[in-house]
């Protein structure tokens, strides 16, 4: 019953072992020369500016993008089973899915019209 997943698990094991080994071995194969300036974070050579703390560091815009992504991701997930089984569902299924897509499109049009898709 789980046989189709066994190869995936084995490949996961191999890939994970490889990645973990590579990441873990790196400090031992390379040289180590301590230098305080090296441990600063990189800012093209100038003295690093301290990072601002607290909220409002990033445009809230990213939140909107992620939220819209979820909306569309869920729409896609519903479209897949329909696409696979559309022979059996026939004309009734077509009407259903058209209503579904158009409804989500309303949300999309609203966001577009309000300027939610404009990136400054």
């Amino acid at each position: 019953m789980l046989a189709p997943y066994l190869p995936i698990v084995l490949l996961f094991g191999l890939a994970f072992a490889f990645a973990f080994f590579s990441v873990a071995i790196a400090p031992f194969t390379g040289p180590r020369r301590y230098n305080k300036a090296k441990l600063e974070f990189y800012e093209c050579g100038i003295e690093p500016t301290p990072q601002p703390q607290g909220p409002n560091r990033f445009p809230i815009k990213y939140f909107l993008t992620a939220m819209l992504f979820i909306v569309f991701d869920i729409e896609i997930i519903f479209l897949y089973p329909y696409a696979v089984a559309n022979k059996a569902l026939g004309l009734f299924g077509l009407v259903e899915i058209v209503i579904f897509i158009v409804t989500v499109f309303v949300a999309y049009a609203y966001v577009w019209r309000r300027g939610g898709l404009d990136w400054d």
Binding site: M1, L2, A3, Y5, L6, Q51, Q53, G54, P55, N56, R57, F58, I60, K61, Y62, F63, L64, A66, M67, L68, F69, I70, V71, D73, I74, E75, I77, F78, Y80, P81, Y82, V84, A85, A88, L89, F92, G93, E96, I97, I99, F100, T103, V104, V106, A107, Y108, Y110, V111, R114, G115, G116, D118, D120
Partner: protein
Amino acid sequence: MSAVISTAGELTNGQVPLGEAVAFWILGPVSLAGAIGMVLLRNAVHSALSLVATMMSLGMFYLIEQGPFLGLVQIIVYTGAIMILFLFVLMLIGRDASDSIVETLRGQRWAASLFGIGFALLVALSVGRAFKGSKPVNLNSATTNANGQNVNSIAALLFTKYLFAFELTSALLIIAAVGAMVLAHLERETPKRTQKEIARERIRSGRPQPLPGPGVLSSHDAIGTPALLPDGSIAPESVMASTPGVRELPALDNPDNIR
């Protein structure tokens, strides 16, 4: 090993095939540890990552229970989409945001633990009762789910019996989009300036060239040091007015000092 897993026999009451048992005893602790870590870890991103581990394990549980579509959808939607949103929010509230351990309401911790335990008992009891006397069915041998028909079976149910719920989901998605807009979108009052407009304004302003840089490297290491123009006079535009230490600048109204 694969032979053991696949030929472990029909699922009968009380007897779990070896493959499933192994997977369960690995994934169960992982998902539990993730959930506990999510509550206990102080750093917000660490606790979000623990939740990812729990979500992944849940997805794999669905895979084991012969729901490949549901399992992968769990991974795609929950770990792929919702957790990314979660991480974004964590980044918005700041990198080092962590929980405060100061109790703001007196006795809150005790009350919360009490309610938590009570709720857990309630859930355990009701779930236990719901499953009492129910018989496990091997979904893979059932006619609706066998041989890769899982997606078709889901579609058949989703688009006929649960049609109303399905169409309601689209309404829910509209609400989600509108909510995100209301919370996170800042309406522009004026249209965004294009590159062309910015360039035009710059030419019209009378100063198309950039402001002179401060004279940091030429004479002094303070950022308030003004730059010198070729004739030796100073350029007052080269330092910001708010910079401390610009007070010793010569008076700006003296035409000799301004170029």
